[in-house]
Symmetry: C3
Subunit: 329 residues, 3 copies
């Protein structure tokens, strides 16, 4: 079990402590369920009401909430509690994770002799790393990950279970109604500090590479088509699909289940709402949405039926306007 | 090959048999294609027309269809033919499945020494069960399943190929445009009699656990985010995405491809139609939908274009109404 | 490194060469980035402007672009450049791929003794082929593929990493609010020349088989429910979900992220746009769409709110029309 003194935490991560640096923290917990040994935090205003009643040993708060927190007891005042919390979880991880350095490449993994694995990279059980692939320093393939031939993964990446990097892009030419395969000779190049969620797939390029830049975070069950380019520090939630040759900027976010069609471009700082379908380029930063609002089934049915006549309704409005204008005063 | 006498089936599962208990059944088949050794069933009214011409040795029917079925020949009258059929398939399975008890944990599986595997659980080929994970009695991990460290699977569950339990939840804090990882210390707790489809992912919680209660059925390629809670006997069809911290009630159904956003709540007995997007809590039992109706492409294009001006159209209607009221009699 | 003379390529694939057959090609590349040893092609008119400046050793063009291409220098005139390119990539592959015949079944694969593997089939690392399954001539399971018991894969198929063939269909009967499993005894039958993308799942049938006919191409992360039938040469892009017992014709295309509900039928030559939801049978060839158009978030919000009152708006239009007709001339 981990136990860290508050004084040590402040030494490592900063912050202004109101309380004893000798207080020992034995767990991290949300405000509502924290016990007497736990460190907790208040970030989102919706949880303010839990501040006064929390049993936590200490609570991380922003300056704005310091007075209330101090009144309750021990607290740690920081600039950005959520970001501080992220750093704290990483500090905690360092103390909780047993050393596994004895076997960085699990004996059950299938690693080609021509693949390059940095001496500090970690290849989990039942992974496959094919010919000529390259895995950078500090990168961790969790379990059952495939990195196909020639694909390059940067440093300090995490690839979760079931990830497939470098399957063939979906490329076919039609020949009298039948599909003829276009062999895919491109690779996949993934930068540093990239995290890729479970069972997510990133296809190899047709001729040139599919590219994912530094700091990109992909959630689970995402499909990235061939020749896609994703800029730095862009994040995508689960179940997103990105079709071939889409070019996505830096610092974008894409909500869960969104679909981005192929051969289009998203500028930097474009934010796509969950389940929206991007059918044309979005060249201006901003937030974009396109989702049919959910409703009770009966109401939806009526509105959906009317929607199929919307253009006709528009025509009727125009006619009414014309009639009114000619008949009116 | 399995062969069971009708008398034995009735002894095991009940029902009122019209015909000889000595009739031997050698297969299960739909009405239309059943042969002379097959047992079949009529459940959905749309197949009534197939009753009289079916070659089946015997047909399972509800009381309402008994007269017609008896006229045709051998039949088995039961309260709920579809439910009876379910029981029958399980009885059949017991006789068709060869005993594999010789190797409950496949030699190719990678199972941590600190994981608990109940003596009756079955771990298929190339599965990974990490440190401190727990697999309950009678549970079966089919093949290539990952159960990550500390995750708990109850009794009599089935996890199909490619399932990933306990990958990290998607948690990051922004630091000047870059994502800082929030380490995920929660686990996944899965109840009894839960079935999880191929390549479905259930993420571990951030601090507390992701919870799936007894009797839940998840189809293939579903994403369950961190800290989600799914109540008893809820079922979800393929390709559903559930974002973090959503709280879903018991006895719900979620249609294929639906998306449920994070930090919201679904009451018990809420039914979400396929491909609908749940963007706010649904606190009343009922059926909810939100799907753009499909149409011939040209018609859709016109209606979609008009939809982008719908609010303006509404304004024009209001103006017409005002004009009419002032100008009218 | 591969190097092929233009003369050899023409000999193998046809086409009318303007330039020296002795020119040696050492790579394939897009127009914009091709170097002096590369062969390139012009197919889509949007790239015509790149023709004159491309550094490629030779460019494959259609008859219509021959005059411009000849003016630039060496070119190969063919009927259909994109199709020719497909053939060229296959020719290239034959020369680039090292012979791996020494171990067609990877030692890490788990293959049942009762499975049939054609002597020319290739089973990659960490694949699972269960009892009674059958893998046809020339078929390649890339890595970490599961083919479940009794499933049949035809000839010259490619199954990419993480594919799951023959997990149980999602079949349950309700018994007083609880789900009772319907055992799935059907199989999966996959024809010849079928390609299936990474982490895609094809479920086994309930009693009869799920069927995928010759020449079908499925992209990544697709879900095919039990008892689905997909006709010849149909192609589906990533993240598509097809519910149980849907019957899809031949020569169809389904765009990425589309959802096809169960127990319905698509005629041959039906094309479904990306992210559309097919909720009823489409019995006429054609293109069908149903997607909420994406917009700036503020505009979308207003239109979505109005959409929830669309049926009421329609009623108001009708009333206006009535009023006008009675009050008007």
């Amino acid at each position: 079990m981990v136990s860290l003194a508050l004084g040590f935490i402040v030494e490592q991560l900063g912050g202004r402590l109101h309380g004893s640096p000798d207080t020992v923290i034995t767990g991290l917990a949300p405000l509502a369920t924290a016990g007497r040994g736990d460190l907790s935090f208040l970030s989102h205003p919706r949880y303010i009401s839990q501040l006064s009643t929390s049993q936590a040993a200490c609570i991380i708060v922003a300056q704005a909430h310091a007075p209330n927190a101090i009144e309750r007891g021990c607290c740690l005042v920081v600039d950005n509690p959520y970001l501080y919390w992220a750093g704290l979880t990483q500090l905690w991880r360092q103390h909780v994770l047993p050393d596994k350095a004895s076997e960085l490449i699990h004996s059950s993994a299938v690693v080609s002799k021509t693949a390059y694995i940095h001496p500090t990279a970690r290849i989990g059980p039942l992974c496959v790393v094919e010919d000529g692939a390259s895995i950078g320093a500090g990168t961790w393939l969790k379990s059952r990950v495939t990195v196909s031939s020639g694909c390059v993964i940067g440093e300090n990446c995490i690839l979760h279970a079931g990830v497939v990097i470098g399957a063939d892009g979906f490329g076919f030419a039609l020949d009298q109604g039948q599909w003829v395969k276009i062999e895919q000779f491109g690779g996949v190049r993934i930068g540093n500090e990239v995290e890729i969620g479970a069972n997510t797939c990133v296809d190899r390029g047709a001729i040139e590479d599919t590219v994912i830049e530094d700091g990109v975070k992909l959630d689970n069950l995402i499909q990235i088509g061939h020749n896609v380019h994703i800029g730095k520090h862009t994040a995508m939630a689960g179940c997103v699909g990105v079709a071939g040759s889409a070019r996505i900027g830096a610092h974008c976010t894409v909500g869960g289940g969104a679909v981005i069609l192929g051969h289009l471009e998203l500028a930097d700082h474009v934010h796509v709402s969950a389940a929206s379908v991007v059918s044309h380029s979005l060249l201006k930063p901003g937030t974009y949405s396109g989702v049919f609002p959910i409703d009770e089934n009966a109401a939806w049915q009526k509105n959906a039926a009317s929607l199929r006549q919307l253009n006709a309704l528009r025509e009727r409005i125009r006619r009414l306007e014309n009639n009114f204008n000619t008949s009116g005063s």
